[in-house]
Symmetry: C2
Subunit: 250 residues, 2 copies
């Protein structure tokens, strides 16, 4: 039996179940393990000898938090990460994770000019902008960010779902929300070289043909059975496992 | 420059600094990473092919919490852990970590008879009873637990300081608190085959000659410099690094 690709609703439901009174996980715990998985996936894909500079792009939600955790671990893995967050997260944990990163001397930038400079000077991008709760259309300032990511020559490692892709329908044309005159703009679609799915891969990446990791070695067995996740074995003491690559459709 | 062995006060101070408003870490985060380190150290010392059954002995303090986290990760590493806690921890997180373990079907025992059965049927023991805040003498029921650990043929992996050892003075005769007649009992001293020090090794293990791991790949560089910790490089994406073994004194 092959691994199950899950939809948006089930992804949200599993998250809630893990953090319910019965599941007993705290957001701090899950985010720490998720972010560590992301850092490991990047490190196993791009060694720090050739890809030392990492631009970690963080959205305002929980996936942005995963990115902040990943940036900290990447620092300890001897990368030189830079954090970019176009819009701060509202949760208290987001501020604490930013503070932890700043305590390590990790540059944290929020402005568009600083972002342009940072993306021009990076070896690899960690895309932690939109997660499994993403709903189109894209709003400013994220249209600009996605266009820049689509244009960069640096390889992209996306977390869970490439930012801007539909969580269930996958890679498809993307637009901004309509302006006063009812006009939308096209947003470029990003094509990450590497993907790190968390807990279980999402339906939207079924046709994804790049390098694909799975993280989230904390899913209880009964939960995996209940939802037929068919998770693979993780090797050794790693927090990630590589999934077989999907062949491109001819 | 070789690694620094730190005293009880500095160990407590570093912990407080990490979890202060400035350090910004939550207990959940640090305990998750510490427990993961413990699980990795055990797994790298005793493979699950030969040492599948692990008795995780947890004290009521934060080190017991590390043990509960380690038991969960050991389950995901395909060991079959059993948790023994003679006295429950008072913090909310302790109950949540117990619940997470129970959700995985990990047996959790608290009684003396169950402990005797569990220690007779284990391949290796993870000793997370007393941490760097330990002060002698030993009180019941821990005298009984330490005597049983000293008598077991299963190898012991101790966290931070072998339980019962003086955090600064190391391995020395150990007694219970005096009874009504003013009499103390002798408690046997345990001799772990493996040690996993967290953040930095403690003064009490300077003469320890067993296999020695260091965990806690989260110490900020400026903190390590401020306290001259002289931490070694961690390899790859691991959360632990092996320290050179100390030669026995002749």
């Amino acid at each position: 039996m092959s691994i199950r690709y899950i939809g948006q609703k089930l992804a949200q439901h599993i998250d809630e179940e893990l953090m319910s009174a019965a599941g007993a996980f705290s957001l701090d715990q899950l985010m720490e393990l998720a972010g560590l998985s992301c850092a490991q996936a990047l490190a196993k894909s791009y060694p720090n000898t050739t890809h030392k500079r990492v631009l970690v792009c963080c959205g305002p939600g929980n996936q942005g938090g995963d990115g902040l955790v990943a940036a900290r671990h990447l620092h300890h893995f001897r990368y030189t990460p830079t954090i970019y967050y176009p819009k701060p997260g509202g949760k208290d944990i987001y501020q604490r994770l930013l503070q932890q990163a700043r305590n390590l001397g990790i540059p944290v930038v929020a402005g568009a000019d600083e972002f342009d400079a940072a993306i021009a000077a990076t070896d690899v991008v960690l895309d932690a902008i939109f997660g499994f709760s993403f709903q189109p259309p894209v709003r400013a300032p994220f249209d600009r960010v996605l266009n820049a990511l689509a244009a960069t020559h640096a390889p992209i490692v996306s977390v869970d779902i490439p930012s801007g892709w539909n969580v269930e329908a996958g890679r498809q044309p993307l637009f901004t929300s309509p302006d006063a005159a009812g006009k939308s703009q096209t947003v470029e679609t990003i094509d990450p070289a590497v993907l790190i799915s968390l807990t279980a891969p999402k339906e939207g990446v079924q046709a994804y043909t790049g390098r694909h990791w799975l993280g989230g070695r904390f899913v209880p067995d009964d939960l995996a059975i209940k939802y037929n996740l068919n998770l693979p074995e993780y090797p050794g003491v790693d927090q990630i496992v590589e999934l077989p690559r999907t062949a491109p459709k001819l």
